[in-house]
Symmetry: C2
Amino acid sequence: MAGTNSERVMLAEGPAIILVEPQLGENIGMVARAMANFGLVELRLVNPRDGWPSDKARAAASKADHVIDGTVVYDTLEEAIADLNFVYATTARYRDGFKPVRSPVTAAETLRAKFRTGEKTGILFGREKSGLSNEEVALADEIVTFPVNPAFASLNIAQAVLLMSYEWMKSGMEDVHGVPFDAPEQPAATKEQVIGLFEHLEEALDARNYFHPPHKKARMIENLRAVFSRRAFTGPEIHVVRGVISSLDRFARPGQRPPAGKSESEAEATHDDDRDA
Amino acid sequence: MAGTNSERVMLAEGPAIILVEPQLGENIGMVARAMANFGLVELRLVNPRDGWPSDKARAAASKADHVIDGTVVYDTLEEAIADLNFVYATTARYRDGFKPVRSPVTAAETLRAKFRTGEKTGILFGREKSGLSNEEVALADEIVTFPVNPAFASLNIAQAVLLMSYEWMKSGMEDVHGVPFDAPEQPAATKEQVIGLFEHLEEALDARNYFHPPHKKARMIENLRAVFSRRAFTGPEIHVVRGVISSLDRFARPGQRPPAGKSESEAEATHDDDRDA
């Protein structure tokens, strides 16, 4: 892809998702959708209860047809993982055994590292009701488990696949704090712009004797400036705020008629010397 | 909770999940389930199309009754967020505006930090078909968006809530690489145990003239030791492997009768000097 290509890239790579004896076509479809959302494409089914293909699966996949069309069915788990180099088993509870247990983050990082060196990997997900058997877990290299509410651990198969697929996607990002789009670059205004705003505001307020009594003026200016600089305004925002001050300033000087319906500005409303009174 | 209390803790805290004009009760139920899985509890609905309460929602919530029972319905989004200090809007695409856009990881960290200082927070999710309007997004402080496959971005509302709830849970963990349970501590065997294994194996092989021709013996031992130490065995594993060697070693010395059905060991099978021939 050219760096500036705006075409939407279809990601389709990464570990195989292997569902062991899935029961509901709808769940298989939701798994396919979750995979497609995060760029996975290779779905393998071991002995699906209601057979394959499945109209219910295709409907629930919500147009993830490339995943549904590529789905391969196997009679046994051994066949389903035969060509893979490294396999995770997902389990919700501790299994007696000597397999390392990993978090989804660690598992995704491991899968990404193996993917980059050309190893073929997969993740096993068990039956809706009963998960994976101990014998099935034993075929995997490591276990992955999800951090859930101890008193409410009820992840279904599509949710579990979604989380692993999401972590897979994140493992390929340079920075998990990054975002695919952002507001245009908004540098903070220069200090000249900020001070210009302060002086504009203070002049307009001074004309109304806002700074009263006079010996409090320095402290009041200090407070005002703190309020108006606690969040750094951008240049365009300074422009907007100065427009507001100019607009409020119009027609309202002593001796001029205030416009109909003019409401008190917030600064005036919180000040005990209300010039509109 | 006492540190050693094995009772399952019901997590029920954190940001409010606010669904704006959700259409399907089933989706609301799946949202409640996703929330409960990751310890969230406060669900707010703005003007749900099919009314509230909803039997379909309760059924889809898969026993997350504490979330369903506590759900509050509002007429407007403004009322639904009135008591909150900080609000995220979830959107799938760039909106013209000046709101910062955050990743789910950053958003969850921010929500966690505000939670710890006592601020009330919420996350807005839009309609199934059309998401949030620009006016609704404008009521939020910041935007959160999900890293998805550019050519297949089809997260539904329950999936989006699941991911944010999951990141919320992770933001409270000391280490996202941590796991809720793990295999018992498995220290690597001592070098004395490892060398004991090597010597045991080499002695048994030597008795069968495995190391042939003699001038290659040193190199063959080096290779064997590399194979048997690439992954660090634990003490109990060393015990198992030595048991295997002892068992294979039995009855098979020259002059002894091999047991019926004895298969070649892998090391023998890959060696050109097959003593069974």
